[in-house]
């Protein structure tokens, strides 16, 4: 008969086993497959990667993706900082209200949100019609089906992702530390600049990393609100694979996208520590 310890060990192995199996089947095998396609389709060789480095059209897409993501990150994190700041100094009731508003937009399907923006922003949409009726503009403003629309929709989607990791680091700032600065002669503005901002910087960095990485893979929002004029990598991969049946190029760009995500994660990890990036999600 087996001893109790080896019996326990067996149970543990049995309980933990599904995890590595899932990781291998769900991530490693498909990723290896995609990597394989990128070197073998339509014919074996590195011509797909050479095209990434040379083709103007591909570089435009990659730079546009980076530009939109950077813009989205800066704006979302900026807005999220204001929201988190407000939350930090709100009454318990006020905090609940802010959390509710952030979470409701977090829970709404991104399709619903994208269509809601379309209703507001398109040429015959609510905003343009109102401005025309008021006589403030003579022709509808191009608010959607361009980069502006894509960034707007992405910012809306990303703000909750930026707020949530920040709340933790904002909460950890001790009131007494802020009061100490006041008692030493600092005005509220100086307290924000010298004490509060430096202490919340790690939370802000974590939020930036998360938002940038999530933004890199955006598909639905830029596809709907960019209207083909703000094609980002994910949408371009979709086009290559499912419209043009160019599986090799699609796979190559998927690997490029993954490399961008990994590099970003490494940079943020090196600068601010992985614990901050991951810990921010708690």
């Amino acid at each position: 008969m087996a001893s109790p310890t080896s019996e326990t060990l067996k149970i543990w192995v049995f309980l933990i086993l599904p995890l590595p199996v899932l990781v291998v089947l769900g991530y490693v095998v498909p990723t290896a497959g995609v990597l394989g396609w990128s070197f073998t389709l339509p014919e074996p060789g590195v011509q797909n990667y050479a095209a990434v480095l040379e083709a103007q059209r591909l570089q435009t897409v990659i730079w546009r993706t980076l530009r939109i993501c950077l813009l989205t990150t800066v704006i979302s994190v900026g807005l999220a900082y204001l929201i988190a700041y407000r939350w930090r100094f709100a009454t318990p009731r006020g905090r609940q209200l802010i959390e509710l508003v952030v979470l409701v937009s977090f829970w709404l399907s991104m399709l619903i949100r994208a269509f809601a923006w379309l209703v507001l922003l398109r040429g015959d949409g609510v905003i343009n019609q109102t401005l025309l009726w008021l006589g403030l503009i003579e022709a509808p403003l191009p608010l959607v089906r361009n980069e502006f629309g894509a960034v707007l929709g992405m910012v809306h989607f990303m703000v909750p992702f930026a707020v949530l990791p920040m709340l933790n680091s904002f909460r950890e700032v001790d009131d007494r530390v802020l009061n100490a600065a006041r008692s030493l002669g600092a005005t509220p503005g100086q307290v924000l600049r010298d004490i509060f901002f430096p202490l919340t910087l790690p939370g802000m960095a974590a939020a930036s990393g998360i938002v940038f990485i999530f933004s890199l893979g955006s598909f639905v929002t830029p596809a709907l609100l960019g209207g083909g004029r703000a094609v980002m990598l994910a949408e371009y991969i979709y086009l290559q694979m499912f419209q043009l049946s160019n599986w090799g190029m699609g796979a190559t760009l998927a690997i490029v996208l993954m490399a961008m995500v990994v590099v970003t994660a490494l940079i943020f990890g090196r600068l601010f520590g992985f614990k901050n990036i991951v810990g921010g999600l708690k």
């Binding site: 530390v177 100490a180 008692s183 030493l184 005005t187 010298d194």
Partner: protein, 356 residues
Amino acid sequence: MTAPFVKLDGLGKIYGRIAALDDVSLTIREGEFLTFLGPSGSGKSTTLMALAGFIDLNRGRVLLEGRDITGLPPEKRDFGVVFQGYALFPHMTVAQNVAYPLKIRRVAGAEADTRVREVLERVGLAAMADRPVARLSGGQQQRVALARALIFRPKMLLLDEPLSALDRRLRQEMQQELARLHRDFGTTFLFVTHDQEEALALSDRIVVFNQGRVEQIGTPQEVYDRPANRFVANFLGDMNLIPVRAEAREGDVTICLSGTRRLRVREEVAPGAQGWLALRPERMGLSETQPDGNALPATVTTITYQGTHLILQLEAEDGLALDARLAVTDPLAARLAAGMAVWCHWPEESGHVMTE
């Protein structure tokens, strides 16, 4: 007549339905070491924070040298504050923490460096200047907080239970350090504590707080020996309370009656007044035969050995419980046993009558 240094005039603060401060009035003298003493929730910290400018009062005024500063923001008051837990800036080094008040006041360069070095030397941290504050011990963090609050030569230093987080040995060391810094800087110190030993050891004067009110203001000797009421008497250590009625005056002595026993007190108490005769256990002597003067017969109930002295619990007439402290060197100490009948006695100047 010049205006007092600081005057608190009828401060009131209500949280919900609870009065955290209820008509708190007192004056602070320039250069003194004043202690706010009381249990938690008694209003001592609230008063300090109101003085620092962190609490909006519902009533009352704070006057600094005759000027009303009630609504002035904390940064305009020029009071140094040492918070519970020290509240150091965790992202700065020791020197950066201490230099922060100078940075705000646009004192920079050589002068700032000199002042930082000088104040760190005075608190004994000169060698630690470039350490991050997170890597300091509790006592060292305490010194940084003190240096940071003293470097800009504040009008007054407010200390909110600064020693409560330290262990016993370090507390005693820091008590001496505080006394030395007070002498050294000559700044008015306002110290908040719930520890009566700390208050007695350090203060020029003590303000005793209870339930948002000031119970008594006086020197350590006054509040210890002549408590204004039963709360103060019991909060500052053990106290025997003997119910009495003032009978007659005889010069500067009042004769009180406890049951049938006549007890003399060297105080002026209005004849007919009911009250308590307060007597510290260490002021009471024991003897086997009835002595002259104030004496009550009692039976020893328990004896607790404390090394340098014995703590005795006794039962007097009508079930009155008394405590006594007897030095182990007292000839009687070796012969005492539970159940023994003794006489408790004390000189007429040791008792204090509270008529509240």
